[in-house]
Symmetry: C2
Subunit: 147 residues, 2 copies
């Protein structure tokens, strides 16, 4: 899909298509922004979650990220290869792995965060601050998020 020009009519009038197109463009733009760091969106998401809860397990990450279990294995494999995270033995359950970030992982996460925030700013530039917040709340409601 091309994202360098807005969708033509009549697609640009269909709410469903608009939602899908904006969603794909957003995902694509974030992916591009993370490329220079050697990361994909999944990597960024998992780094963030491990950082916020060190020692967490892969199962917990699956629940909190909506990433498929089999995909999670690959993501963590790659984070280990990049030297950003480690599987450690879980203190109370030998089936589980306790996941931790390395120092390099924390540094990379910071840079990724800066890149993501810059990208978000650019993406939502066509909207005012108020409009962006309205959009966010509508999307939350549409997604069925409580509260």
């Amino acid at each position: 899909m091309r994202f360098d020009q807005p969708p033509p009519e009549p697609l640009a009038s269909a709410p469903g298509f608009l939602l899908s197109w904006n969603g794909q463009r957003t995902a694509h733009t974030f992916a591009e922004a993370l490329k220079p760091l050697g990361l994909k969106p999944h990597h960024f998401g998992v780094l963030t979650l491990i950082d916020s809860d060190p020692g967490t397990t892969q199962q917990e990450l699956v629940d909190r990220s909506m990433i498929d279990p089999s995909s999670m294995v690959a993501v963590i494999d790659e984070l280990e290869e990049l030297g950003l995270a480690e599987r450690q033995t879980h203190p109370s359950d030998r089936r589980k792995h306790a996941l931790h970030l390395t120092e390099k992982g924390r540094e990379t996460l910071q840079r990724a965060r800066a890149s993501a925030m810059k990208t978000a700013k650019e993406l939502f530039a066509p909207l005012s601050t108020d409009e962006t917040e309205t959009l966010r709340l509508l999307l939350r409601k549409l997604a069925g998020v409580e509260g």
Copy 2:
């Protein structure tokens, strides 16, 4: 990705993720709704475009649908196999194909439209009519659509 439950925090607070998740869910739900008719979203889109401009060419469809040229060949092949559309000789350029719907194609398109509208109604049920319209306008603006 699972769409039977809303995304957990902190994902449900990130505008970028919300946009991407809602977009994917929308695309997925439409795809499911079209399955009983033996159609995929691409088929529905192309049927709609041919119906609105009979005799159009594949190149024009590519421009108006944002579908990849190599994918467009497969989509039209399948529409022909299903007996919904036909490639006819183009009156002024023998390289081109003039595309037309069959009677069966028009009937199927009507049923697909009904199904799509029902699906859209269900998808946007969490929002009021005003909210849905606000969302649509914000998404248009975000996408960079003129007017």
